[in-house]
């Protein structure tokens, strides 16, 4: 009997054996080992559990509590206002603008990046000289900090800046806009910059997913006379399902929380008018900088609930889809 075997045993299993002459000694050895096992389990998991509970779960609980008060952040909160912070948020046109902007970014990212990435990945799904270099270059925008990228584009997009000069030299001077100052344009400019930053991520992810599609399947389809497009449509893309859905999930959660890029790229004045605000920038502007801590925490809870519900719905949906399709289920 090795101690390794016992690791596999359910906690209560050791005591189930019938009593016998030399059972007693073995039982007590087992009990000792069982106790040691529990010490190890507790010792190894406690640090992770503690830090996780303390810095992930507890703050969210506090957010719910603080959100019920009108509170400037000094001393304990005393002025209980119930759900008033929540109703105030949904009555503030700036917050509604922020919600709309988040929706634009969520759906804009999915609808623009998805087809581009899928098309590029399918066309580049083959070994060619320089593919490694290509992968490296396409991934560059993703690895750079959002802040760095934001500052960079802010410089490129200033009035009569590089982008404007480039457009004029191409004879498209008519397209020149106040990219980051025009209240109707700014959110689309930011969406374009986000697309630039994150489409490479989608491409790399899909290329990685494609490398898991067995050659035999596409070859068999080719032998059966399927055209290139038929193969993509009926063999490759269905097999890519899990990858596509994971990408959609990551993109959606990221878009709902988007902060850094918006914060550094758009001017505070434009943001405060709602034209480029998102839920996260609105939360930090009001909670942290304007010191409306109760209100800010209410916005945090709204942001949290929206992300959480979206994630849960998506997982349900994603999970069911993957079980229904036998092929995609196995490919996972």
């Amino acid at each position: 009997m090795t101690s390794a075997n016992q690791i596999r045993m359910p906690a209560g299993g050791a005591s189930a054996s019938p009593a016998g002459p030399h059972r007693a000694g073995r039982d007590s050895a087992r009990r000792a080992d069982n106790r040691r096992k529990w010490y190890e389990i507790i010792g190894l998991t406690t640090p992770a559990v503690l830090i996780y509970v303390m810095f992930v779960l507890v703050p969210m609980g506090f957010a719910v509590y603080y959100s019920l008060f009108r509170w400037r952040g000094v001393g304990p909160p005393t002025e209980f206002v119930g759900l008033r912070n929540y109703t105030l948020a949904f009555q503030d046109p700036i917050f509604l603008d922020a919600l709309r902007n988040n929706a634009i970014i969520v759906f804009g990212s999915l609808l623009i990046q998805g087809p581009i990435a899928l098309g590029v990945a399918l066309l580049l799904n083959r070994r060619f000289r320089g593919r490694a270099v290509f992968r490296l270059l396409v991934f560059v925008p993703y690895v750079l900090a959002e802040v760095t990228v934001g500052i960079m584009w802010k410089l490129l997009l200033t009035g009569d800046g590089t982008v404007d000069a480039l457009l004029r030299s191409l004879g498209m001077g008519g397209l020149v806009q106040a990219w980051l100052a025009d209240l109707d344009v700014v959110i689309w400019t930011l969406l374009a910059v986000l697309t630039w930053k994150y489409v490479g991520f989608a491409i790399i992810l899909l290329l990685a997913g494609l490398s898991n599609v067995p050659d035999e399947l596409t070859e068999a389809a080719a032998i059966d006379g399927a055209s290139w497009w038929q193969i993509q449509r009926h063999v490759t893309i269905p097999l890519l399902g899990p990858t596509i859905r994971i990408w959609m999930f990551l993109s959606m959660i990221g878009s709902l929380q988007i902060f850094d890029m918006i914060w550094v790229t758009s001017v505070p004045a434009v943001r405060s008018l709602g034209a480029s605000a998102t839920m996260a920038t609105y939360m930090v502007d009001n909670g942290f900088f304007a010191r409306l801590w109760g209100y800010g925490n209410a916005v945090a809870v709204i942001l949290f609930v929206i992300s959480f519900v979206a994630a849960l719905l998506f997982q349900r949906f994603l999970l069911r889809r993957d079980i229904e399709g036998a092929i995609t289920g196995r490919a996972k």
């Binding site: 998991t45 996780y52 320089g130 410089l155 630039w196």
Partner: protein, 286 residues
């Protein structure tokens, strides 16, 4: 047809071939769009602000080293790079150690409540770090941790743990039972097995989670923005933002600072590209 040749005869599959013109044109265009703005920033750092204003899309003429020299000698660049490095390394080390310990238990011990504990951790994947930032700030303030490295490291570790455990657990589960039995026969305890067998065997996965935690920490902005008001503790992302809002008229200087701030991430990425992509792939396989 260019399109048909995307599927070559199977005999030619294994060798690296030259792509079709279409493949190359597409690859080239995408790569150019990805890299051109970055190159522009790096090259722009070698120009003077009057040059840039006169011709925003031009090339350096003459080449000026002054901007880069100025940033490296007169700004807080080095201090900020140091702070970023301390925070990123601290985060990475803690995430890997705590994540490995917890994932090892979840993978190799069977006990009542194991799956519950695992679900408890995976739940963290649904908790957006951004939403928790305000209460997190208040808590760190009450703990007197504001303006310390810990204020950034501890929450970052906490929010990285779920993904780390999700990636590590299947890896540790996949180590064959025979190895564990053999180690036990040789007299190794379960902890000895973790230290001598499981850890060396899971090195690729450990490198992956380490790299992901490092990059996330290196690039993070919102948490440092709130909890590090002391300029001497600022990290590079905060530095880039401050420099650009402080010297709005010094376009060339901002370009130089921005490219220098990009450099570490780019270097690090070139070295660890395989691990990052591998880690993402691992996450996809879920």
């Amino acid at each position: 047809m260019a399109v048909n040749s995307v599927l070559p005869p199977s005999t030619g599959r294994r060798q690296v071939s030259y792509g079709t013109p279409l493949t190359y044109a597409l690859a080239l265009a995408i790569a150019a769009v990805s890299i051109a703005p970055v190159l522009y920033v790096v090259i722009g750092g070698f120009r003077t602000t009057p040059q840039i204003v006169a011709d925003p899309a031009g090339l350096p003429d003459p080449f000026v080293w002054d901007n880069y020299a100025r940033v490296l000698t007169q700004s807080n660049f080095w201090q900020q790079a140091f702070n970023s490095a301390v925070i990123a390394l601290g985060t990475t080390l803690a995430v890997v150690v705590l994540g490995l310990a917890a994932a090892f238990v979840l993978a190799r011990y069977s006990f009542r409540g194991r799956e519950g504990l695992y679900t408890f951790f995976t739940l963290g994947l649904l908790f957006p770090a951004g939403a928790a930032i305000l209460p997190l700030y208040l808590m760190l303030r009450d703990l007197n941790l504001i303006n310390s490295y810990y204020a950034v490291i501890l929450p970052q570790v906490a929010f990285s743990l779920p993904l780390t455990i999700v990636i590590l657990r299947p890896f540790l589960s996949a180590i064959p039972r025979e190895l564990e039995d053999a180690a036990a026969i040789d007299g190794a305890s379960r902890l000895g097995f973790l230290w001598r067998v499981a850890m060396p065997l899971s090195r690729p996965a450990l490198v992956t989670v380490g790299v992901l935690a490092f990059v996330a920490s290196w690039n993070s902005f919102l948490l440092p923005l709130l909890v590090l008001s002391d300029v001497n503790l600022h990290t590079l992302p905060l530095g880039v933002q401050n420099f650009s809002s402080q010297y709005t008229t010094d376009t060339a200087g901002v370009l130089a600072f921005t490219s220098l701030a990009m450099l570490p991430a780019l270097l690090f990425f070139t070295l660890a590209e395989k691990q990052i992509v591998g880690g993402l792939q691992g996450a996809v396989k879920g």
